[in-house]
Symmetry: C2
Subunit: 337 residues, 2 copies
Amino acid sequence: MTTIYDVGRLAGVSRSTVSRVLNSKNEVDPKTAELVWDAVRKLNYHPNVSARALVRQKTDMIGVILAHVSDPYYEKIIKGIEAVVGERRMGVAFYNSYDNLETHRMIVFSALVGNRVDGLIVVGSNLNDRETLQEIIGQDLPMAFLERDLPKAGITSIICDNRDGAKQAVEYLLNLGHRRIGCLTGNLDYQTAIERLEGYRCTLQKYGLPVDEELILKSNFQYSGGYEKMKQLLSLSDRPTALFACNDMMAFGAISAIKEAGLSVPEDVSVVGYDDIIFTSMFYPPLTTIQQPLFEMGGLAAQGLIDRINQGEQYESIKRVLPVKLVIRKSCQAVQG
Amino acid sequence: MTTIYDVGRLAGVSRSTVSRVLNSKNEVDPKTAELVWDAVRKLNYHPNVSARALVRQKTDMIGVILAHVSDPYYEKIIKGIEAVVGERRMGVAFYNSYDNLETHRMIVFSALVGNRVDGLIVVGSNLNDRETLQEIIGQDLPMAFLERDLPKAGITSIICDNRDGAKQAVEYLLNLGHRRIGCLTGNLDYQTAIERLEGYRCTLQKYGLPVDEELILKSNFQYSGGYEKMKQLLSLSDRPTALFACNDMMAFGAISAIKEAGLSVPEDVSVVGYDDIIFTSMFYPPLTTIQQPLFEMGGLAAQGLIDRINQGEQYESIKRVLPVKLVIRKSCQAVQG
DNA sequence: CTGTTAGCGCCTTCAT
DNA sequence: ATGAAGGCGCTAACAG
């Protein structure tokens, strides 16, 4: 391992000078600096991150904890985070919680309390994590929340208007003449799932329609969940003519079940999804869905977190609720006759 | 920040004893140990990772560099890596290269030379990265390669039998009576893309069929690339009756183009993909494709890397070529008449 | 403008 | 079985 000391020796200067050059602090004679850079290149020197982090008490890294990095839903959020973080010359580390409370707790503590990262973005975590998070927040460590707001916490949270999204979806179906509209919810341990369901309910009520509990099935945001629950919905004597799936993956699963039953989308059942993940437009039929500003969300969370890190506890937390919009494709049509 | 010193003071012991308890080294009086653990819990102490890494000269983290974490293709590979790494009580950090050589270089150096991780798994990187990688390998730092083998490197590499995969796909189509089989290649800066194309060519030759260069279109492993290139293929006067797409995303794009042209899959064009990503079975029609043992690949790479880290340079590198298999779904049918 | 000095928090001999 | 002391590689005062 080559250290700052080796660089100094080769350049004929002290270690502190090397450090100054590397960090472009204070004034350094341009000639000296050039000597140092030459040595750095020649030795292919890269600072030991641990040593640097130890003395500076910061790692220039932020962490992002989410259920599973590979979930396509996170794609644009991740890109939004990375864009901002890269711009500020920091790095990102991703951690998978697998939606497991114990794992989540371990990660949060070892990453944040163990100083592995300077701050943490928690993406849409399980509401039962509240205790862990309150504990962390109590220590005034930099955090930001995405798709979730923690009451009383002086912390940035970026969420989308889930109730309004559900409202747009349901209103769209109502305008097409649908009256029996099924709803596949996400895992109700998640704020987004709860709010979307509320939006569905309120919208029906607003239009003076009955909320038939038989048409509301608690699912889990997964393809398989959408598939299974849709089969149940189709077996109803008076089956729905339309479906509001609280995310796109469940919509895909539901559509498979519909096709398997010998029915068609949108001829027999209209389907609206939620999220607008990248696959929606590749899917057949192209899915009508609610689009969230995912890239922007990621960016705002990262920005809030980094500001908090830089400004310390004087940072004024922000809470943003971003608007969503309906994207009409080809999975819905008006009720016939 | 609470340190080992605070813990020691609360427990009434020295810092070295705390350290011993934490790392369960040597013998420590069970009563003393209990005292220390009590203090740890009471203070919610978590070791400072930087300090620990600095003195131990290891981070217990491995890095994984790939084009983009959110690409669904990596999903199972990632899970395979995580399974092994978790089992060995280490952690993983993911880095996105975005298929950019400069980014790739920076990550490799700062992560590995900067001691951010103990070793690095490079997943299917651009062949033009060779120089950077050789440079790193020259420093005998622990690395493992996935979907790529670097000649002369005493380093673990795990690849799949891409030529055989292409052969299985093409033979399947030939057996269905197809003679004009198009090929959409991936980005030929990648070993997998090159080998799959070779497999396609060799198989046709093996059966004494002409290789019509007009039917081979260089694409990029992307949905959009598959879509565009398939449009070209369809505009040919004597268009192909079947397509071998070198990955599933291009197959999806191609199928969109086919549908858009008023044709059907598999009635008018049969399509075989490659990879068997999670979406293939959700797609309509369910895609016939080549399945790779992705989970196993990730696990083997992680295992090889960790062994190398633990055993040092005496580690005997392994090179594994894993078998692949054809998964028949519904995107192909026999030539009519 | 540059070198000297003193830690950052932890682990690991070496004593006891 | 436990404590004292030294140092991992780096940065940040403080001198000069």
